[in-house]
């Protein structure tokens, strides 16, 4: 009997082994994700990348660039064009001990795979009393702001966060892109790894050898004493900009980057909110039933008597994603954030 066992890997909550020595460099999130994939594939032969156009082309966003050249088409597989088939095949591969990393080409194109995701990926460990864990990472470029035509800018994180059994992770910095993707691939649980499309190309300094905070920890990106902006992924830069602009209005805003939506870092979030007493949740996806609702609800449950004002939400409108020429009206910008901050009942 030759059933393959998954290779031992660090459990969730710890980061993966750091990559071969490297120094601080300047790079984009796209490059960091590419490095993370390459380093994960070098470190662990069970890591397989698969998806549409991930091979020779290197993916439409070039996140998988060069992987087929280095690891061959078996390790970085151009699949037929069928998302349920891709994820379903990845499930079978994971059952045999591989660690598939699946790329969905755009968020809206992950929808055909939702049945496989909800009914199997999220549930398999539970269905089998732990006997059949599925260490699958599903990478999904998400969100708008890149001038994409319809179906290319959905932000679908609410579907994933509402599904027990999935981890949902989203980086907002170049360093996190690398570190969180390594940790996601190393996780023995399935991770939906949401990549903010519009942050792919901006460059930052980062040190690939420096460990990042593990999955499940929120990180305060800016301290402040007036109120906190709670955000993640594509909205982090907007929040930082808003916090900067808020100084002119006399507000000293903290900015908290959640990084992982599931598991949720209740402790850090509650600590920060309690210390400032006012909070605005910011994300670009639609508001109704969005992740912001969960954040606002749980923050309020935990910090009610520390709150000087209700937790407000600044989100995209409850509409299908607009055509690109109108998207800037939909996406939360600095002004909309500051308007919300202004409504935090300062007079009181």
């Amino acid at each position: 009997m030759s059933t393959v066992q998954p290779s031992p890997t660090p459990a969730l909550g710890r980061t993966a082994a750091p990559p071969p020595a490297a120094a601080v460099r300047t790079g984009s999130m796209a490059q960091a994700l590419n490095s993370a994939l390459r380093d994960a594939m070098r470190a662990d032969p069970t890591v397989h990348v698969m998806g549409e156009d991930v091979g020779t082309l290197g993916g439409v966003f070039r996140i998988t660039d060069g992987l087929t050249a280095e690891f061959g088409p078996e390790r970085c597989l151009d699949t037929p064009l069928a998302e349920a088939g891709i994820l379903g095949t990845a499930i079978g591969m994971a059952m045999y001990g591989l660690r598939p990393v699946v790329e969905m080409q755009f968020d809206a194109f992950a929808y055909p795979a939702l049945e496989q995701l909800f009914s199997h990926v999220a549930k398999m460990r539970n269905r089998t009393a732990g006997k059949l864990p599925l260490p699958i990472t599903v990478r999904i470029p998400y969100g708008g702001g890149i001038g994409g035509v319809e179906h290319h800018s959905d932000a679908s994180e609410a579907y994933y966060t509402a599904t027990p059994g999935l981890h949902v992770v989203t980086p907002a910095t170049v360093a996190d892109a690398y570190g969180l993707l390594r940790a996601s691939i190393a996780s023995d649980d399935p991770v939906v790894f949401l990549e903010p499309k519009r942050l792919y190309w901006g460059k930052q300094e980062w040190d690939p050898s420096a460990p990042v905070e593990p999955i499940g920890r929120a990180v305060l990106r800016r301290t402040g004493r007036s109120a906190v902006l709670i955000t993640y992924g594509p909205s982090l830069p907007v929040c930082l900009e808003a916090a900067e602009a808020a100084k002119a209005e006399g507000w000293d805003l903290a900015v908290l980057d959640l990084r992982s939506l599931v598991p949720f870092d209740d402790r850090t979030v509650a600590e920060v909110v309690r210390s400032v007493g006012r909070a605005v949740v910011v994300h670009e996806s639609t508001g109704f039933g969005g992740v912001g609702a969960e954040i606002a609800a749980r923050v309020t449950e935990r910090c009610f008597h520390h709150l000087a004002a209700p937790v407000l939400r600044v989100t995209g409108f409850d509409i299908p994603y607009p055509p690109p020429m109108l998207e800037h009206h939909h996406l939360p910008g600095v002004d909309r954030i500051l308007d919300a901050v202004a409504r935090l009942q300062w007079e009181e």
Binding site: E52, D53, G55, T56, L57, G58, V60, D78, T79, P80, L81, A82, E83, A84, G85, A108, F109, Y111, P112, G147, G148, V149, E150, H151, H152, F288, F317, D318, I319, P320, P322, P323, P324, M325, L326, H329, H330, D335, R336, D339
Partner: protein, 390 residues
Amino acid sequence: MTVLDPSPDFLRGDPHPAAASVPGWLPGATGPRSDPAPLLPDPSPVRVLGTPLLEKTDPALLRELYRRLVVGRRYNQQATTLTKQGRLAVYPASTGQEACQVAAALALHEQDWLFPSYRDTLAVVARGVDPLEALTLLRGSAHTGYDPRATRTAPLCTPLATQAPHAVGLAHAARLRGEPVVALAMLGDGGTSEGDFHEALNFAAVLHAPVVFLVQNNGYAISVPLTQQSAAPTLAHKAVGYGIPGRLVDGNDAPAVHAVLTEAMERARSGGGPTLVEALTYRIEAHTNADDATRYRQEEEVAAWREHDPILRMELHLRAAGLLEDRLVQEAADEAEALAARMRAEFHADAELDPMSLFAHVYAEPTPQLREQSAQLAAELAAEAEVHAR
């Protein structure tokens, strides 16, 4: 060609036909439920150009196809140029595939419906939709710029193969009403891998719906070549698995595509059920202007297909047949230039858009939530305007 009639009895009365009427599913079954032979495609693609069939083709049709091919090519070129000038957000050109686009449009009757993919703007235009309205999606100013009902043309469809079941449903509804409407769904080779393609073909066959599926097999789904998309003898062979006829045609031979589609549409219209047509063609340009095709294919391959260009071939064969008068050539060129000039003029100006339209069509009546949000945006816009006014 005899077409089997796999129409389920249930559309004729008895809700659940006795299973005993299914020869292939009986305890002692000895044969299939229907004869597969007529469903299998002739593996040699149908051709008209350069064959005796050319002589039998209506010269007026040939001239019309020629004219539209020329205009279509220019349309593709102009749209691509507009992307370079930042006037279109993106353009998936059908350059090299114009024969499929134009022949498909011409095979439709006025009451028929077209279900195009994102690559089929030219078919939409050839069908009669205003060229500028057809481009709003790709310009980025509006999702769908034309009225689908008035034009019997569904919105350009991006999620692959999802338009195929829509075509089936519409055709089914029309048949139930006794109206002679046929739906034509267009998709690519890559799209055949999606589950929706399969479900649509199966529904079409079981419902015996008047729908035709045209797969433009242009050899690639973005970078992924056919060999990695399918191992089937041809994509048209998929038809037999649904009990419908499959047909293979040279997709760069406009009169051949027109003939094969017309035959399939007439069969559908007269109650003969759906057909799957595979047209062999080639995407001469990259996937879109944003794609770099040199990463995944060789120039020699492109060159081989350039020689098989649908317009060159039309020209060659029509001229040889004495059907291509100089006047026609000139008229076509003029029409093409006029269209290109109109596109340049229109897209030169910035689109004037109303941000408040974002809330207008989410529901028949905005929800209370949308009313609040629309008031919020209005206030934001007013505040902005005030800042600008200062």
